[in-house]
C-alpha cells in the first residue's frame, strides 16, 4: 500500500502513449525503407544516408527534445509562448526572404546541413500561444475583444502559411484553434457564427473556383485549383476550346494519378497485404516515388500490410489521442487542459486528413502523417507535441 501511494505521489510518464509513439516511429522507419528501396536516388546511398535511418535519427532527436520539454513544468514553458509565437512568425516571414523554393512553393529554410519547415514549428508555438492566451478566467472570454484577439492570433500564421503556399498546413490551424476556443469556454454561439461564416465563405470560394469563369475566380495557385477539381471529380477540360481539351484531359489524368494510384495501393492490399518490401505499386513506380515515403506513406503500409496494418496504425494513433484527451481531463489547470486539447486536435486532424486523402475521403493536401511520414521537421514537431502531452501528464498534480 505504501508503495502504491509512493508511486501515486511520484511523477509518472504516460507509458501507453509513449509506447504507441515509439511503435509508430518504428513502423514509419520500416515502411519508409520499403517505400524508398526501389528509388534509385535513395537506395544507392549507404544505409546511414537513407531516409529510413534519418527518420530514426530525427525520431531520436525528437525524443530528446520531448524529454527536454518534460524537464520544465509546462506552466513555466508557457511564459515563453509569446516569444515562441513571434519567433515562428518571423521564421514564416523569413521563408519569403531566404526560403528554398521547391515545386513552386517556399516552405523550407536552409540552415546548411539541415532544412527546417517553419510551418511545422509554427503549429506548436501557435498552440502554446493560444493556450496561454485562453487560459485566463472564463468570464474574460465572453468579451468580444478577447475573442477577436484570439481569432487574430490564429489568422496571422494562417495567412502566412497560406502564402507560402501550403494550404494543407494552413488549414490545419483552423480546427486546432476553433477546438481550443471552444474547449476554453468561448460562447458556443460565437463559434457557430464563425463556423457558419467560414463555412459559407469556403463554399462560395469552392463554387467560385470550380464553376466560375476564369476571370471571376479567386486567385488560387494552379496546382491547388487542380487538386480541388480532381477531388471533386470535375472535368477541367469541359469548357476549354477544342485544341486545348486534349492537353487538359491529359493533365487531369496526370493530376488524378497520385490519388488513383494511392487508392489502388490501399485497395490491393486486401486483408493482410503483400508483405513488407513487397509492394508492387512502389516497386513498379506507379505510386510516385517522390511522395511515396512522405505524404503517401500510409498507402505503402496499407498495400504491404493490408487492412490489419491499417487497423494497427489507426489503433496506435487512437492510443495517443485518447491518452491525450485523458491527460487533458486530468490536467491541473486550464492551461494544461487547453494545451492537451490543442495537441490532440492537431494530431487528429493530420491523421484524418492524411489517411482520408489516401482513400479519397479528403482532397490531396500536403499534410504529413505524424511520426510515419518521412520528414525531419514533422517528426520533430510531432514528438515535441507529444512531449507537451507528457509534460502535462507529469505535472498533473501539485507536489
Amino acid at each position: 500500500m505504501i508503495g502504491t501511494i509512493d508511486q501515486e505521489s511520484r511523477p509518472r510518464l504516460d507509458w501507453p502513449q509513449l509506447i504507441a509513439l515509439v511503435l509508430l516511429l518504428g513502423i514509419g522507419a520500416a515502411f519508409i525503407h520499403s517505400a524508398t528501396s526501389s528509388n534509385e536516388i535513395f537506395s544507392t546511398r549507404p544505409w546511414f544516408r537513407q531516409p529510413f535511418f534519418w527518420h530514426l535519427v530525427y525520431g531520436g532527436i525528437g525524443m530528446i527534445a520531448g524529454a527536454a520539454i518534460c524537464w520544465i513544468d509546462y506552466r513555466q514553458l508557457s511564459r515563453w509562448a509569446i516569444v515562441a509565437y513571434w519567433g515562428s512568425i518571423l521564421l514564416l516571414l523569413g521563408v519569403f526572404v531566404v526560403g528554398k523554393e521547391v515545386y513552386g512553393a517556399r516552405r523550407w529554410i536552409d540552415f546548411g546541413p539541415v532544412q527546417i519547415q517553419p510551418s511545422e514549428f509554427a503549429k506548436i508555438s501557435f498552440i502554446f500561444m493560444l493556450a496561454s492566451y485562453l487560459s485566463r478566467p472564463v468570464e474574460e472570454l465572453r468579451q468580444p475583444k478577447v475573442f477577436w484577439k484570439a481569432i487574430g492570433l490564429m489568422v496571422l500564421p494562417f495567412l502566412l502559411i497560406l502564402k507560402e503556399p501550403d494550404l494543407g498546413s494552413a488549414l490545419l490551424l483552423l480546427p486546432v484553434g476553433l477546438v481550443m476556443l471552444w474547449a476554453a469556454g468561448t460562447p458556443p454561439r460565437w463559434l457557430i457564427q464563425m463556423l457558419g461564416a467560414g463555412g459559407t465563405l469556403i463554399v462560395l470560394l469552392l463554387v467560385d473556383i470550380l464553376f466560375a469563369p476564369p476571370q471571376w475566380q479567386f486567385k488560387l495557385e494552379d496546382y491547388q485549383r487542380r487538386r480541388l477539381l480532381v477531388y471533386f471529380g470535375i472535368d477541367f477540360a469541359a469548357n476549354a476550346p477544342a485544341p486545348e481539351r486534349a492537353r487538359l484531359r491529359r493533365e487531369q489524368r496526370a493530376h488524378s494519378y497520385n490519388v488513383e494510384q494511392a487508392l489502388i495501393s490501399v485497395g490491393s492490399g486486401g486483408w493482410l497485404g503483400k508483405g513488407w518490401n513487397q509492394g508492387q505499386q512502389i516497386a513498379l513506380g506507379y505510386l510516385p516515388r517522390a511522395v511515396a515515403h512522405n505524404d503517401f506513406i500510409f498507402s505503402v503500409i496499407a498495400e504491404e500490410k493490408g487492412f490489419m496494418g491499417s487497423f494497427i496504425v489507426i489503433s496506435l494513433y487512437s492510443v495517443v489521442l485518447f491518452t491525450g484527451i485523458r491527460t487533458a481531463a486530468q490536467a491541473r489547470d486550464r492551461l494544461g487542459r487547453l494545451l492537451a486539447v490543442g495537441v490532440v486536435t492537431l494530431i487528429f486532424s493530420q491523421v484524418f486528413i492524411n489517411i482520408g486523402m489516401n482513400i479519397r475521403l479528403m482532397p490531396v493536401t500536403g499534410v504529413p502523417l505524424p511520426l510515419l511520414s518521412s520528414g525531419g521537421s514533422s517528426v520533430l514537431c510531432s514528438l515535441i507535441a507529444a512531449g507537451v502531452l507528457q509534460n502535462i501528464h507529469l505535472y498533473r498534480r501539485n507536489y
Partner: protein, 646 residues
C-alpha cells in the same frame, strides 16, 4: 465506455472532443474496410491491368515426317540477339543529359528530343553489335519509335538467324553491352528445301488467336498459319496450343519481370506415307529429264494404297516463306508457264493419251475380244469423214502387239465394238472424274469424265474413238492413273490413296496416343475378270520387257510392267500445240507391289521421257526393298538457313 469513463461527467467539451475523435477513427476504419476488404478485388484488378501485359507464345509446331520418321519439316533454333530496353533507361537519361540544349524547351520539343536521344543510344548499340557480328544491322528511327511506343515490354530483335560463327563472336566479346542478349526461338525449317514442297505446303505469318483460345493479348510473338498443303490441312494438329506469359511492367512501360501463366502445348507430329528416298529419287528423275521439267510422279503401294512419293516439278522452297516471301520471289513463283506452285500430280487435268488404252483394253476384253485375233492396221483409221493417223506401223496386230506398239487403229476399232458405255463403266468403277481424296486442301482436281447422254454434248462415234485413245473429252490426274495402275496390279481393288500414316504427339510422355490412319481402304472393285487383268498385266510386261515403247524402263532382274502414252494438247482451234507424255507402270510383275505414274508436259514421248524416270524410281524402290542403306542416295538434309538479314 472505457474512454469516456475517464472523463469527468461535467466536462462536456472533452466528452464532445472524444466523440469527435472516435467518430473520425470509425470513419477512417470503415473507409479502409470498404477499400481494402469490400472493394479490394476491383483494385487488385486495376493494379493487374496496369502492371501486367499478356503475351501470346505460339507452341512449337509439330514435325512433318516421312514414313520412316525422317523429319521433312522441323523446328530449328533461331538464334537472335535481342535488345532488352528495360536495361537502358540510365543510358537514355545520360544521353539526354549530355545532349540536351540549354534553356527552356517546349513540351513537344522536349519529347521529340528525348526520343532522339533514346534512338541514338539504340543506334549506337546496334552498330556496335553490327561490328561485332560483322553484319550490317540497321535500326531506323521509325522502327525504334514504333517498338518503343507499342511494344516496350518486349525485347527488340536486332539480329536473326545467326550462324555459329556469329554466336561465337557475340559470346566472346570482353564485355557484352548492356541490354543485349542471345535468345532462341523455334523456327520452321524444311530440311530438304524444295523436296515435296507442294505436299508439305508453306506457312504464312499470322499471329491471331485460333478458335478455342484466349482472344485478348497485349502482345503476340510471331506465329504462322499453314497456308498450303499438309501445313494447311493439318494446321490445327500441327500448331498445338499457344501459351501465355505475363510481363510485369513498371509505370513507364519497361519490363520488370515475367512469368509463364499457361505453358504452350507442342503440336502433334504428322507422319506421312511418303518415303523420303523415293520422293527424292522421283524428283531427281523429273528434274534431270528436261530443262525445267514440268511434270509429276506418283508412287503408290498397289496393295495398301500408301502414297510413297508425290512429286511435282518445278517446285518451290517453302523456307522462303519464312518470315515472309519477297515480292520478286513471289513473282517467280507465279510464272504463267512454269507455275511452280501447281501440284501437277493432283492439281491439273491432263489428257491421258495412250495410257487410257489400258481401260479401253479392259472394256474390249470384257466384251469378248479375243486377244489372239488379228486385225490389219493400214496405218490410219477413218471415223466418219475424219482420218486418225496411227503412230504404230501398218501391219497385222493381235492384242499384245497392238498394246505394246500402242496401235490407235486396233483400240479404236475394238473400242467402238465394245461401246462407249462399257468404257465409261470401267472409268466409273475407277472413280475417274472424282477426287481421289488426297487431303491437300484446294489442290485436288477431279479430272473430267464425259457423260455422253447429257447435254450439251452430242456424242458421236468420233468422240468414242477419241476416248478409246485417251483424247477428247477425258482428262485425268496422275494420281488417278496411279490408282488405276494399282487396281490392275492388285487384281481389281480400287483403293483410296493414303497419304497420312499417323499422328504422333511430339512429347511421348504427354497424354494422347498415336492415331493411325486405316490402311488399304477399298473404294471400289473393278468388275473385270481376273483373266482380263492377267492379259493386260502380260501386255504391260511385254511393253517394257519386249520391244515395246516402254523398254527404257527395263531393269535387269526386276520385271517392270508399263504403258506409255503421248497425248496431244490442242488449242482452241484444234491445232496440236504440245504433248503430254505418260508412263504408267507397276512392278514387280510376279508379285506387284508398286504403281508408278510419270507425267511430263512437253516431253518427247512417253517411252523416251517418262519411262527412264520411272526406271530410276523403280531402282530406288528395289533398293528400298532389298534394304540397301541409302544414306548416300537420299542425300543429307541441308543445313538450317543462316542468311542473317537482320
Amino acid at each position: 465506455m472505457l474512454i469516456f469513463d475517464q472523463l469527468k461527467k461535467d466536462d462536456p467539451q472533452l466528452r464532445a472532443l472524444t466523440a469527435l475523435v472516435l467518430t473520425g477513427v470509425i470513419v477512417l476504419l470503415s473507409g479502409l474496410w470498404y477499400v481494402q476488404v469490400v472493394a479490394s478485388k476491383r483494385f487488385v484488378q486495376n493494379q493487374r491491368a496496369q502492371a501486367y501485359r499478356t503475351v501470346r507464345i505460339p507452341a512449337a509446331r509439330g514435325k512433318i515426317q516421312d514414313r520412316n520418321g525422317q523429319a521433312m519439316a522441323d523446328n530449328v533454333p533461331n538464334y537472335r540477339v535481342n535488345l532488352y530496353l528495360e536495361e537502358l533507361p540510365k543510358l537514355f537519361k545520360d544521353e539526354w543529359r549530355r545532349t540536351k540544349p540549354v534553356g527552356p524547351l517546349k513540351r513537344d520539343e522536349r519529347v521529340s528530343l528525348e526520343s532522339m536521344a533514346r534512338f541514338r543510344v539504340v543506334s549506337n548499340l546496334s552498330s556496335h553489335l553490327g561490328r561485332v557480328l560483322n553484319l550490317p544491322i540497321a535500326v531506323t528511327p521509325g522502327d525504334f519509335v514504333a517498338h518503343y511506343s507499342s511494344q516496350l515490354a518486349l525485347p527488340m530483335t536486332l539480329a536473326n538467324q545467326m550462324n555459329a560463327l556469329q554466336i561465337a563472336r557475340f559470346q566472346e566479346q570482353p564485355t557484352i553491352p548492356p541490354g543485349l542478349d542471345l535468345d532462341v526461338q523455334p523456327m520452321r525449317f524444311y530440311l530438304y528445301g524444295t523436296t515435296a514442297a507442294h505436299l508439305l505446303g508453306y506457312l504464312q505469318r499470322d499471329n491471331q488467336s485460333r478458335e478455342g483460345e484466349e482472344a485478348d493479348y497485349d502482345f503476340r510473338l510471331p506465329d504462322y498459319r499453314g497456308k498450303v498443303g499438309i501445313e494447311k490441312a493439318f494446321d490445327s494438329t500441327l500448331r498445338g496450343k499457344a501459351g501465355m506469359k505475363s510481363v510485369l511492367v513498371n509505370n513507364l512501360g519497361y519490363r520488370q519481370a515475367e512469368s509463364t501463366w499457361v505453358e504452350s502445348e507442342p503440336g502433334t507430329n504428322v507422319v506421312l506415307t511418303i518415303d523420303l528416298r523415293i520422293q527424292r529419287a522421283a524428283e531427281r528423275g523429273l528434274q534431270a529429264a528436261l530443262n525445267y521439267t514440268r511434270g509429276a510422279v506418283v508412287v503408290m503401294d498397289c496393295q495398301d494404297g500408301d502414297v510413297i512419293a508425290l512429286a511435282s516439278s518445278p517446285a518451290f522452297d517453302p523456307n522462303r516463306f519464312i518470315p515472309h516471301i519477297s515480292h520478286a520471289e513471289w513473282e517467280a513463283l507465279s510464272d504463267p508457264k512454269l507455275r511452280p506452285q501447281l501440284n501437277r500430280s493432283i492439281q491439273e487435268n491432263y489428257a491421258p493419251g495412250s495410257i487410257f488404252k489400258i481401260i479401253t483394253a479392259m472394256a474390249c476384253l470384257e466384251s469378248g475380244l479375243d486377244p489372239e485375233r488379228i486385225l490389219h492396221n493400214p496405218g490410219h483409221i477413218q471415223i466418219g469423214r475424219r482420218v486418225i493417223k496411227d503412230t504404230a506401223p501398218p501391219g497385222d496386230y493381235d492384242f499384245k502387239r497392238a498394246f505394246i506398239l500402242s496401235s490407235n487403229t486396233y483400240f479404236i476399232t475394238n473400242g467402238l465394238n465394245a461401246g462407249v458405255d462399257r468404257i465409261l463403266e470401267i472409268c466409273k468403277s475407277l472413280h475417274l472424274g472424282e477426287k481421289s481424296g488426297i487431303p491437300l486442301p484446294n489442290q485436288e482436281t477431279s479430272g473430267i469424265l464425259p457423260r455422253p447422254g447429257e447435254k450439251p454434248i452430242s456424242w458421236h462415234d468420233g468422240d468414242t474413238a477419241n476416248l478409246c485413245i485417251g483424247q477428247g473429252f477425258i482428262s485425268v490426274t496422275p494420281m488417278q492413273m496411279a490408282v488405276m495402275t494399282a487396281a490392275i496390279a492388285n487384281g481389281g481393288k480400287v483403293l483410296w490413296p493414303r497419304l497420312i500414316d499417323r499422328l504422333v504427339p511430339q512429347d511421348p510422355l504427354l497424354s494422347g496416343r498415336a492415331w493411325v490412319y486405316e490402311r488399304a481402304r477399298v473404294r471400289d472393285q473393278l468388275n473385270v475378270s481376273p483373266r482380263t487383268l492377267e492379259i493386260i498385266r502380260d501386255a504391260m510386261r511385254a511393253d517394257v520387257e519386249e520391244q515395246g515403247s516402254g523398254k527404257a524402263a527395263r531393269i535387269p532382274g526386276y520385271t517392270v510392267c508399263g504403258k506409255t502414252g503421248t497425248a496431244q494438247v490442242t488449242d482452241g482451234t484444234g491445232r496440236v500445240v504440245d504433248h503430254t507424255t505418260w508412263f504408267a507402270a507397276f512392278a514387280p510383275y510376279e508379285n506387284p507391289r508398286y504403281a508408278v505414274v510419270v507425267m511430263v508436259e512437253s516431253g518427247s514421248s512417253g517411252g523416251g521421257t517418262c519411262a527412264p524416270i520411272a526406271k530410276q524410281v523403280f531402282q530406288a524402290l528395289r533398293q528400298r526393298d532389298l534394304g540397301v542403306p541409302t544414306a548416300s542416295t537420299s542425300g543429307s538434309p541441308s543445313n538450317p538457313p543462316t542468311p542473317s538479314e537482320g
